[in-house]
Subunit: 323 residues, 3 copies
């Protein structure tokens, strides 16, 4: 008989979006997807092979629930959220396929708006126009250590553009990430590293990133912080860039929900005077649990790029259902 | 554990299609999708939140089962049939996402070929080149009244092209529909309203439609009728149009199945002498139930546009399986 | 309640691909999909209608698990593996929709690398640039005889490009296949026929193919052989071609797995001196079963086209999980 589990999340919000520059201002009322979690549908299974060995697989497809489209955007493949098969045992877990990157998980799990890519400023700071390769790697091999006390670690390698022509471009998109975390009582510490080869016709273009993050749960309040340093370089000086991002946030349980608040700032240094030099963003919200699987939320998010200034704000009220 | 229900319908028919104009005639033998119901696959679930409150979601994808393609046509998104999440209680039901329009449901439920978009002439009269916005609205909020006696009502609002540039085009596709019905014993009365903003660069283009429909089940025969009036206008006179559609049909139980017969006629008035002025169509068929979930059917459908004349006929024999 | 079964296979391998011509050589390390079975996800169901009659349906989508894309390639529709509905009884089985062709099943089941399209040379010889219409027919009607002793037979007819304009092109892709097999104890014999109309603007282009195949299981070794003859012709002499393919292979149980080895050679005769005249290929591998549903495998595959020479080799190690 079938042992396949179906699961997923549908999350939608009504909201008011405003975009401003120094001279213009434009607003619209929207019904949008994924305020707290980008909607998705998944299929997964586990088979016990005996001797502590298990076979595992998972397939997950993003959903733009407001319009019925698949993917976070039109560039995503159907199984763009996850597409893996592998083996798991006392020695750890080895999977092949398209993986979520450990670095992106470490970023979005160490913030009050856990998993959000819409209302969580740290995601925009680290991933929008910043960390190359995105949050998913194709053609990947991931190894995860077995849980040892409070210690966990994931290593992901991507083969990149395997069969590209000319063959020098096969290096492009080869990428590696490693993330380790240590949890003890109310405290959790995370450190991560990201590398991606962006080689284009032999220009030695690549990008490195490092991050540290910590959370501490005092009970009446949970605090979190994270810091990222990203360096991109090539023999073509124009693409050299350094970016730093720092977040500090709190999660305060109130009633059946939590108040969520966070502030993120980044500095961006590159050779182009036209691109922004800094980013200052915050988000504050209340997430109310109707059950363990269903919650309603409201949030106000402001994301400001500095010099030149562009600002986007979102006022949102939504519902998220996990199944 | 998972509470997700998988459901759907696969419907295919072998048939003979003939297209005629005053001077030409062309036929082909086909294996086509969805004679009675456009094939689809769905996933849905309900969570009891306590206090009479429930969370609901549904995802449905159309299938062209003859070729394995998704969608009714290439323009459909993957979850093009339905993509919603919401809450339901004693106060009614509120859902967000891509909805089937109440007006299209009222049209296709009040005809002998229930739900058919291929062999049911009223669907072609009301939706093909007529009612704008189609049978699905993106970016929608739907509210349904709780059932009160025999009374039911649905209200659907769509945000339209939310972020269009220039912002004047954000009005485009904003749409609203309201449909109420009253059922008492063998009789059911339905009334509906449709509005869509078709604004293009400030031309105040929009469309209104009204409908009434009724069915009465005498036991040995069930009769139905519906009437639609559609008005489209803009400051550009060329798009002004009025269309009226009237259907009368019967469903006659015979053995384990039913004879289905219906006649539909429309008048179309617009500024263009090149477009047809009228449409006269009928369909007659027999639908035989092998079980509650599986039926086989045969039908003859003739759809004729008048002045200039174009006529399509379909002779079909098919099988439909619900799961 | 739902009676839908979810099933499928995820198969991925890490490998080294090398492509050579007389003057060039290029290698790459890859993480690829489907060494033994092209990954897929399926939904199917059966309804007992009484009197020995059953309704059946199946929907299957190919998965490129290494990147999360759907389809074997970008040309495949979503339900490209299978999309059928039909009835089954004592008289046999009749299904409508997109079918896997009986000829391709007969080809890939009578080889040691059962079902493989990546590491099995006979698939490349028969289908790559050879048998037209591929392994799936749209707009098809399939009839299968009821099992009579060891005898089985499948007949598939495709309507082709049903509504093509001009109507002379509606013949294009009309296709028919018939495959019969007889199993008795350790022996199985299979014979198949393939026809496809490739008409283009009335050039009477079509293709015929015949095959015979046999397997015999001696217990300590299973041997198999198959032979194909393909003839393509039109009133335009340039497309006339004759191709012959012969395979001989063995499957040797060793421990919890099997050694698989096969050799395939083809001769290709056509009017073009630029296209290869022959093909010589082999594959050798070991497939180890971790359970009935999960196996790991390694294989070395060499596919050589002759005059002019082009050669591809794959060294692969992978995991396959069925669910």
């Amino acid at each position: 008989q079938s042992t396949v589990q179906i699961y997923g999340t549908i999350d939608e919000f009504a909201g008011r979006l405003t975009t401003e520059t120094a001279t213009t201002r434009s607003s619209s009322t929207v019904l949008n997807n994924g305020g707290m979690t980008t909607s998705f549908l998944g299929f997964r299974g586990t088979e016990d092979l005996g001797g502590g060995l298990r076979a595992v697989f998972a397939l997950e497809t993003f959903i733009r629930a407001d319009t019925g489209a698949i993917g976070r955007n039109d560039a995503d493949p159907f199984w763009g959220r996850l597409s893996i098969v592998g083996l798991e045992g006392g020695w750890g877990k080895l999977t092949l396929g398209r993986h979520v990157t450990p670095y992106s998980l470490a970023t979005t799990l160490n913030t009050p708006f856990v998993g959000s890519t819409t209302l969580s400023p740290v995601f925009a700071h680290v991933y929008n126009l910043n960390l190359q390769g995105g949050t998913r790697f194709d053609n990947g091999v991931q190894y995860s250590l077995p849980r040892l006390g409070g210690f966990a670690a994931d290593f992901l390698y991507s083969m990149g553009r395997e069969n590209a022509t000319p063959s020098v471009d096969r290096k492009r998109d080869r990428a590696f990430e490693a993330v380790g975390s240590y949890t003890t009582g109310p405290a959790k510490l995370t450190a991560g590293y990201h590398y991606i080869n962006l080689n284009n016709a032999g220009d030695d273009h690549d990008q490195n990133a490092w991050m540290v993050a910590g959370t501490y749960d005092f009970g009446v309040i949970k605090v979190n912080a994270q810091h990222h340093r990203v360096r991109e370089q090539s023999t073509t000086i124009a693409t050299n860039a350094r970016r730093r991002t720092t977040e500090a946030g709190v999660t305060i349980p109130v009633g059946a929900g939590s108040i969520l608040a966070t502030y993120v700032r980044s500095s961006m240094r590159d050779a182009s005077p036209a691109t922004p030099d800094g980013r200052r963003s915050f988000s504050i919200g209340y997430d109310y649990n109707l059950s363990k699987r269903t919650d309603i939320y409201t949030a106000y998010y402001r994301d400001r790029l500095v010099n030149p200034m562009t600002q986007q704000t979102i006022l949102a009220a939504g519902v998220r259902h996990r199944f």
